[in-house]
């Protein structure tokens, strides 16, 4: 027991000194578990996040939009793969991670349980959802677990194109006909609050935050990140000439931040618990993809075995 206490103290000292933790290093079991949970949730979010946007790939207004959206969705797949790899360094298998997603045990970001009803939603997702994700992910590039931090560096490099393509879609709509601008406003109305919810519960209601900050998994709290996002995003909405659906939003000269209205936390928890507009549809889509892809995985294995057999025969003769 004493030995474990010593090890934990030594571990905390390394974290405090700014050292990174690598997969084979000793770590408290809770640190390992927290990381498996967080990194895999993050990976699942990238993969499930392909679904709402994939919905519009065949219906983009121009070829330029289509290549951009395709590349973005392909990136999300790549980001999921980087993150699954990082999670696996902690001793959990890829199959187990997938399984947890497929049976509905693992969580992913609730934002992807909202539907993409119009083309403007693709703009709003790139601008707001990727914008919120970037704020979180930039913080995570300095997280204490090496493989997670490295995956984040790679992801952040790629992510800024996502936000720019989204904003450009919004800008084009806002400079278009009144109907197009109304579409952009409608999308902002529907995506604003769910985007703010992406940062998670308020600090007071977030029991894991303190430990996560102590272990330098998170370097800022949910509320700090949310405020940062709002402060950055409001001037961007002003350039578009559309307004966020919050009557309480106003600049606070004293705080040098925007004050904003109360988030509907009941909605947040409902969606987390599986009662959002698309939870079942998303999970069904992932299960279908896995099941319908079984023949590809089997064919790959059969092909590899055949190739290996051929090589053995060639060597023998």
């Amino acid at each position: 027991m004493e030995k474990i206490v010593d090890q934990e103290a030594a571990f905390q000292a390394r974290i405090d000194a700014g050292e990174k933790i690598e997969p084979k290093d000793w770590m408290p079991e809770k640190y390992r578990k927290t990381h498996i949970r967080q990194i895999s949730q993050h990976a699942h979010s990238e993969i499930v996040g392909m679904l709402p946007e994939g919905n519009w790939i065949t219906r983009t207004p121009t070829l330029r939009r289509k290549v951009g959206l395709l590349a973005k969705v392909q990136d999300e797949a790549g980001h999921g793969l980087y993150l699954y790899s990082a999670a696996e360094t902690l001793g959990i298998s890829r199959d187990e991670l997938f399984h947890q997603l497929h049976i509905g045990k693992a969580k992913y970001s609730s934002i992807f349980n909202y539907p993409t009803m119009t083309w403007a939603d693709i703009g709003a997702i790139g601008w707001l959802v990727d914008g919120a994700a970037i704020i979180n992910q930039v913080m995570l590039t300095r997280t204490s677990f090496g493989p997670y931090a490295r995956a984040m560096v790679r992801i952040c490099k790629e992510e800024s194109f996502h936000q720019r393509q989204g904003y450009e879609i919004m800008l084009t709509l806002c400079e278009g006909t009144p109907e197009q601008k109304a579409m952009a406003q409608d999308a902002l109305n529907r995506w604003w609050w769910p985007s703010l919810m992406m940062f998670g519960p308020r600090d007071a209601e977030s029991p894991n935050t303190e430990q996560s900050v102590k272990w330098k998994i998170k370097r800022k709290t949910n509320d700090e990140l949310r405020q940062q996002f709002i402060d950055i995003t409001i001037p961007q909405a002003e350039i578009l000439g559309i307004t966020v659906p919050d009557p309480d939003l106003k600049w606070n000269e004293e705080r040098q931040h925007y004050d904003f209205g109360e988030i509907d936390w009941d909605e947040f928890w409902q969606v987390v618990k599986g009662n959002g507009p698309c939870n079942k549809e998303r999970l069904q889509a992932r299960n279908d993809a896995w099941n319908n892809g079984a023949w590809v995985r089997n064919a790959a294995r059969a092909h590899a075995e055949k190739r290996a057999e051929k090589e053995r025969t060639a060597e023998a003769s």
């Binding site: 084979k24 793969l81 199959d95 049976i103 509905g104 069904q284 099941n291 089997n298 294995r301 190739r307």
Partner: protein, 122 residues
């Protein structure tokens, strides 16, 4: 014997905890495919550098996957893939005996040697 084998490969159905549909867990694939470590040379003149890992059934497919996953934006001019199980890694708990012996050998560094300030090109 043959009958048993065929039975093994039958998809296994399992009730889903979350909704009422079923998941087909394919036993054939459940043994999992190998993990490969990926190294990329970003341009000639630089070394290959570890960038991450991926799953693939064999080296050729690992190479194709590495191309798609790690070089979508011209990040490299050369890729190495090696199955993770072939890498032997040092153990961090033995870092002391492994790396400490170099600690007290300052004489391996140029600054260990006292030379006059006016001396140049050395």
């Amino acid at each position: 014997m043959q009958k048993n084998e065929r039975k093994k490969k039958e998809p296994q159905k399992q009730a889903n905890l979350f909704t009422n549909y079923t998941i087909i867990t394919n036993q054939y694939n459940m043994k999992g495919n190998p993990i490969w470590e990926v190294f990329i040379r970003s341009k000639n003149g630089l070394e290959h550098r570890h960038v991450g890992s991926l799953h693939a059934e064999d080296a050729k497919m690992a190479m194709e996957n590495a191309r798609d996953v790690y070089t979508r934006r011209q990040e490299g001019v050369s890729i190495w893939v090696v199955e993770s199980k072939h890498i032997t890694a040092s153990n961090p708990s033995e870092n002391g005996e492994m790396f400490d012996p170099a600690k007290d050998k300052a004489y391996r560094h140029p600054t260990f040697y006292d030379l006059p300030d006016e001396l140049e090109h050395i």
